[in-house]
């Protein structure tokens, strides 16, 4: 029986492997993985499979295929026959060869099926098989198996922190956002921070800095401060701008502040009549007007928030529109609320809103005219005021909310231009430049106080 030959210096003769018959090759690999290939003069600490992994790419294609098939046969033996002689280190060595040996095999899918059988089988539930099961999971990741995120999350729930690197990498390979979503929700532990920091270079190589950053930002606030600092430091070294993350974080704070203010205004307006009857004529109005103005001041920052921000943005805009429409019911608050709304809405919604307001007599035609002139030309203003009035303000609220929400989500000049095109007669130059300026977020829309 032939076996690999070695020089007097312990060098492996690769051709001697290529001369081996499949059965001889099988026996040699089996022995080697079981720590019984003494003829090789290895380096201290090298794992038995390392030799195969290093030699494999240099072998003839036919021999590489033989090796792939032998490894798959071994895995089949574990999954379907008796795993006894593979329990422990030898099985681990076998599975660690998934990458680079099995990853390109035409029988990769069959291998994945076998590995899944091992992972699921009750006979591998015992502590003595833990190593084998863990390595099988590592092999599944290496073979780019993409199960549902629950597959990995359940593993963490069952095995705890020691599986953190495995689960995180499994999730990230399946779906990057699922990995960060899981990190954002799981009870934090030091091992998670380390796993994330260790895996980051691989994620950056695999998905690019932009994608990683986007996902990082989404759950930024869920990470402990120490993890945030560590990620900031890592980002600095990896060459992507941490200011972006910090900025997004600030923007998320703006959204929170905005929502809080809108809710505050809602609550205030709900009790407005009662407050009005008890307080002096100036104080109750001033509080509401100040709140509306503050919302108007925050708006540019909210608008520049990135699409990556988590949370119920639709709900935020609903709350905001609800506050402003409630304010329209009071003559002393209506001009402020109306001005703020038309300052941000597309012309189609401005027309609908103005029609409904005039119909309900919340504002006089002259008041509307004066406010509209801050934003539109004389011709445009006239056209807005002369349209047929809407019957019911409530009917147009959904489209107003959608307009706010939509503009936040698709905040690029091209989309806005396409959406608005042909809807309105206008001074094209000022209209276009207004939209571009607004979209760039550099120059907030004019508000007069």
């Amino acid at each position: 029986m032939s076996k690999p030959s070695y020089s007097q210096k312990g060098e492996l003769n690769r051709e001697s492997i290529e001369r081996m018959e499949p059965e001889e090759l099988r026996q040699w690999i089996f022995n080697r993985l079981h720590g019984d290939d003494p003829t090789f003069g290895g380096a201290p600490g090298d794992q038995p499979h390392y030799l195969l992994v290093v030699v494999y790419p240099h072998l003839k294609r036919t021999i590489r295929e033989d090796i792939e098939n032998i490894l798959i046969d071994f895995i089949h033996e574990i999954a379907c026959d008796s795993p006894t002689q593979w329990i422990g280190k030898a099985g681990g060595e076998l599975f660690l060869m998934a990458d680079p040996i099995l990853i390109n095999s035409p029988r990769k899918n069959y291998t994945i099926d076998l590995l899944l059988r091992i992972v699921a089988a009750e006979k591998f539930d015992g502590a003595e098989c833990e190593e084998l099961r863990f390595r099988a999971l590592q092999a599944l990741i290496a073979l780019d198996y993409h199960p549902s995120p629950n597959f990995w999350r359940d593993l963490y729930d069952k095995h705890g922190e020691s599986y953190a690197p495995l689960v995180l990498e499994g999730l990230a390979r399946t779906e990057l956002s699922a990995a960060f979503e899981w990190l954002g929700g799981v009870t934090w532990a030091e091992s998670l921070e380390r796993s994330l920091l260790f895996l980051m270079p691989n994620l950056l190589e695999r998905y690019g800095a932009g994608e990683v950053k986007k996902n990082l930002v989404k759950h930024w606030r869920n990470y402990p401060e120490s993890t945030q600092s560590a990620l900031e430091e890592l980002a600095q070294f990896e060459g992507f701008s941490i200011e972006d993350i910090a900025h997004s974080h600030t923007e998320e704070t703006w959204v929170d502040a905005f929502l809080t203010m809108a809710n505050l205004l809602n609550s205030y307006l709900a009790a407005y009549r009662e407050i009005k009857s008890k307080s002096g004529p100036e104080s109750y109005t001033e509080a509401a007007v100040r709140t509306i103005r503050t919302l108007g001041l925050i708006i540019p920052n909210v608008r520049s928030a990135s699409v990556g921000i988590s949370g119920d943005l639709e709900g935020m805009w609903e709350s905001y529109v609800e506050s402003l429409t409630s304010a329209l019911e009071y003559p002393e608050l209506a001009p402020e609320a109306y001005e703020q709304m038309i300052g941000q809405l597309p012309l189609s919604e401005v027309m609908e809103l103005t029609g409904a307001i005039l119909k309900r007599k919340y504002l006089e035609m002259s008041q509307c005219n004066k406010i509209l002139r801050h934003f539109y030309s004389a011709d445009e203003t006239e056209r807005i005021l002369n349209q047929s009035p809407e019957d019911n303000l409530l009917d147009i609220l959904p489209s107003i909310v959608a307009a706010f929400s939509g503009r936040l989500k698709s905040y690029d000049p091209a989309t806005l231009l396409i959406e608005e095109d042909e809807k309105v007669p206008r001074d094209l130059t000022s209209w276009t430049s207004g939209i571009l300026r607004e979209a760039a977020g550099a120059d907030p829309l004019p508000l007069s106080f």
Binding site: P38, A43, H49, V55, A142, F198, P201
Partner: protein, 327 residues
């Protein structure tokens, strides 16, 4: 039949299983058996005394010192089985020579090794397995080296081997992710490296390290090629086309560096070809065994000081990771 007679018979007729013409190292093996048989036959009178002594006072000694205290039948068997082993490959042959020359194993360790070899079958696989199992039980028991606690130690390893070690230690889901991570850590500042790797073990069971006998860093010569570093440390040639990562570190306080012995060399799954135990004249530390072929890349390679110790963690690193190649 006494030991000497049996050994002579082996020389005269060859072993029963031997069918091929004796190769060079086969001939050397037979010579060794003959020499050993003659030597042991000359000193039967002191064997019992030494046997008693080695049991009562455990001290560093040679295999022959302990073997001579065993009954002749056992001596014959041990020599015969080591002979079977050394016929398998250059590495096995060198292992047998190293067992003969090793002088820094405790008497009790040799006794256990002899017992294990005696229990093994007459086949190389069984003998090797017995040796490995015994050696594993006695790693890091050689004498402490004479090195200052401030000595900067060094280790060279390929990125791929290190990545596979990290994945095996479960720091990563896959070797590929570990590879990306280590790749990104090259040339990162030391402070950052130490922080991120603070609890990361940089070896699995034990670590072999070199150092600069004149003080300073072990890999101070930045111009040295990967091949020459590999050659002077006597590393494996199997991955010699890959670049090397150089790690430099200090031992933690209280950690003892020791002479490398056959226990460390033959406790692993792969036995090390480029290893020779330090001679009994060495008082300070062991030495690496550089490649000794005539290839140009190996010309003028100098041996380096060598020692073994428990695996260290990343917080012990004393310099940033450095990668060298042959380009």
């Amino acid at each position: 039949m006494d030991f000497a007679q049996k050994a002579w018979k082996v020389v005269a007729y060859g072993q029963p299983a031997a069918t091929q013409a004796p190769s060079t190292h086969r001939f050397q093996q037979l010579q060794w058996q003959l020499k050993e048989a003659r030597r042991l036959a000359r000193q039967p009178s002191i064997s019992a005394t030494f046997n008693n002594m080695s049991k009562s006072v455990d001290r560093y000694c040679k295999l022959s010192d302990v073997l001579s205290g065993r009954p002749p039948r056992e001596r014959v068997l041990v020599v015969e089985k080591l002979g079977i082993l050394s016929d398998c490959s250059p590495t096995d042959y060198q292992a047998r020579i190293n067992f003969e020359n090793e002088c820094r194993l405790l008497g009790t360790t040799w006794e256990r090794l002899i017992d294990a070899i005696l229990e093994a079958d007459f086949e190389a696989r069984s003998i090797r397995s017995a040796i490995r199992a015994t050696m594993r039980a006695f790693i890091l028991q050689g004498p402490p080296t004479r090195t200052a606690s401030t000595t900067v130690l060094g280790r060279a390893i390929t990125l791929s081997a290190m990545a596979r070690s990290f994945a095996a230690d479960r720091y990563f889901g896959t070797p590929s992710a570990a590879h990306s991570h280590i790749r990104s850590m090259r040339n990162k500042p030391l402070s950052y490296l130490r922080k991120l790797w603070t609890d990361l073990r940089l070896g699995r069971y034990l670590m072999w390290s070199t150092f600069n006998k004149n003080g300073g860093r072990p890999f101070a010569d930045v111009d040295e090629s990967a091949q020459r570093v590999r050659g002077s440390l006597g590393l494996s040639r199997i991955d010699q086309d890959l670049p090397l990562l150089l790690l430099e570190y200090l031992l933690p306080l209280g950690e003892i560096a020791r002479f490398p012995t056959v226990c460390e060399a033959y406790s692993g799954d792969d036995w090390i070809y480029y290893f020779r135990p330090a001679s009994d004249l060495e008082e300070d530390h062991g030495w690496t065994l550089p490649w000794d072929d005539s290839a140009e890349q190996s010309a003028g390679l100098k041996r380096k000081p060598e020692l073994v110790h428990l695996p260290i963690k990343g917080k012990q690193l004393a310099a940033a990771l450095r990668e060298i190649s042959d380009e």
